[in-house]
Subunit: 399 residues, 2 copies
């Protein structure tokens, strides 16, 4: 038997299930693959022998239109071989027991590093199993690919949210300073999406990415001068902005909580800025975190993103069946046309593709190069199936 195993890893997105679906649909077309398994909770499911048999009766097409990670996900790092030897051997045992000859791992740069380590190990011990990675992250921070599936849908959500929030904010003659916090720890790609509504005439006043040092005094001066003019200010800021010493602005808080809980670790920089605006400018202010909705708003997914995610899985399976291994499926875009190529995992693993500095205008705006980049990626709306007047989603994990 020659079986395929698929695992999902890292934070969910709206289209990570489309990558799974594409892989399955393609695999079903080829006799070289006998059975398809899903790793329940990624690497954790492999180590704990918790695999899901995905047989032909499963209506996997439905998974396309469900956010999250249909097989379950995990944040799990494995050390470089021969460290963590027992783990490597455990993985091998399970792969042998289930005749896994093809392994697809879907995730971001850490997951690509995991795939690379497993692939290296298999080569070292001469175990014949093709290992590939499929790109996925709302952060869009993988190198060597035009974009990462998951990002365009998150960007589209951010753009629509900003457009709608803007129409809420302009209703008062004397408005507020509104600070919207957007995900993206090290790379500003998702925050840059706040620029997209400008194509419909909705302009954010200040956009701050982690790629340029954030200066608090300068920020406060700008806020004051904009508020004086317009009686409202709309600021969009990445959760990961840093000062000129590369320290997170999040640490510049006015009050220090006793406890160290999730929300106040990362996430929360909008509160820090709101504190400063209140304390130093005494203006009415509101902090908004867009939070998880950025990565799970399936109903606003980009049709292009969904389609490319699916096709990346199909391409990956076809290449594995041609004997290729040890690569990530990378996306090209040329002459308005998407295509795929193989890039060695080692060239991608752990690296971070930051937002291009030359696309940042001054220190708080984004230029047209970004708009030219993003617009083809957010093309098209999807039509969800509704059930009881709510989107119909599907799942195999019940909690």
């Amino acid at each position: 038997m020659n079986n395929l195993l698929i695992g999902q890893s890292g934070g969910p997105t709206s289209v990570i299930n489309a990558s799974v679906v594409g892989s399955i649909l393609e695999a079903r077309l080829h006799n070289e693959i006998d059975r398809i398994y899903g790793a329940h909770y990624g690497l954790d499911g492999i180590i704990n022998e918790d695999l899901i048999l995905i047989d032909d009766k499963m209506n996997v097409e439905e998974w396309m239109y469900t956010p999250g990670a249909i097989l379950g996900s995990v944040r799990f790092k494995i050390d470089e071989y021969p460290n963590d030897l027992a783990l490597y051997e455990r993985i091998l045992t399970i792969f042998k027991k289930y005749d896994i000859r093809y392994f697809i791992y879907i995730g971001g740069n850490d997951s690509m590093d995991t795939s690379r380590k497993i692939s290296d190990y298999f080569k070292k011990i001469n175990f014949d199993c093709k290992v590939i990675g499929l790109p996925k992250t709302i952060d869009n921070d993988l190198v060597e690919t035009h974009f990462c599936p998951g990002y365009p849908s998150a960007a589209k959500f951010v753009a629509v949210a900003i457009e709608e929030i803007y129409h809420d904010l302009i209703v008062y003659k004397e408005g507020r300073v509104t600070i919207v916090e957007i995900m993206g720890r090290d790379a500003g790609w998702l925050t840059a999406a706040a620029k997209i509504p400008s194509i419909n005439g909705v302009n954010v006043d200040l956009i701050y990415l982690p790629e340029k040092p954030f200066n608090m005094d300068d920020f406060l001066n700008k806020v004051k001068s904009i508020y004086d003019k317009k009686k409202m200010v709309l600021v969009c800021v990445s959760e990961g902005i840093v000062d000129d010493k590369k320290e997170y602005i999040l640490k510049h808080r006015e009050f220090k909580p006793e406890d160290d809980f999730g929300h106040l670790q990362l996430g929360g920089v909008s509160l820090v800025l709101a504190e400063k605006v209140k304390k130093y400018l005494n203006l009415p202010v509101r902090a908004i975190e867009l939070n998880l909705l950025q990565r799970c708003s399936m109903h606003l997914a980009s049709k292009t993103d969904l389609k490319i995610a699916k096709k990346s899985g199909m391409y990956g399976v076809r290449m594995m069946l041609k004997g290729k291994s040890d690569f990530i499926v990378s996306i090209n875009f040329k002459n308005n046309h998407f295509s795929f190529k193989m890039v060695p995992l080692i060239k991608v693993a752990t690296l971070v593709n930051r937002f291009p500095l030359e696309w940042i205008k001054g220190d708080s705006d984004i230029n047209d190069d970004y708009l030219n980049y993003i617009l083809p990626l957010i093309k098209g709306e999807i039509k969800l199936k509704y059930q009881n007047n709510l989107p119909h989603f599907t799942r195999i994990i019940e909690k």
Copy 2:
């Protein structure tokens, strides 16, 4: 000349513009009304003689599909006559100058109180002007009406957001305690919407409304026991929950900020609960505020809500033309059919319609009576016009 003046007041919703549009379209049909004006920023626009002439060339149908408040809004309270006499006289001057004989004010209970005061004043001084209110609030807390336009769309947003967030949360074997904070200061209607996804099998573990006292120890015990079983907990909580002394739970924080800024005043109770979960249970926890998106997510508006908002304006105009005044347009629902009636403003002004205690199951769940109530209200999706792959909105205020 006999002219109509329309004003919007209080927090925006996704369908408050539909109420304006219905009023305008109906008014255009009747020769008794010569001109239609909009008050720019509500009462503020009247006092400052800032009126917008809405002529026949204006394509107001487009306003239907734009969130916010197309004419601008205001939070403005006027004192009981003869206090604030100068304000009353100023309003009269403007009404006389612009020949306003019909006045529609759209808002919540405070705005209905304003309408009632103005109407009383006009009667007292024998100024012939019909004055009516149209109901609007995402809080659904007006009395004497089956529902308030704006609420069903906000409820639909909450339901979809919870459905999508749920699918994000279940992906990890060891998940978090997630606390979602929902708007509604005094009434739990919007938080109750977290129950809606249960009709699609998506169950929130704990739902807390302001109508029942919140007990922190009991909350922590429940969270612990659910987490032990499922390794995740999803809690939805109204921003306005109170303890048994009717004090906001928001005040139970572990750390006190030096400054007193918007976010930490109301809004923020999810952070307080997250602190407690971290400190006393030491579980991984995340706080999510759904924030402004609850009232401006036009793209998820309920078609039923939008339609009824529009019709409420049409009904109001027809009744004024029959000589009626001093009423709010109230909505009936019987045998699956919506209709309208007039209710005197005095019976609605300043009163709060709280969520029925008998619809709360135990202290942290909602029963089927609520589902039977809400499901007809969230029926139907709207189709927005898209422009550059984003919803196309329109506005007359530019900032």
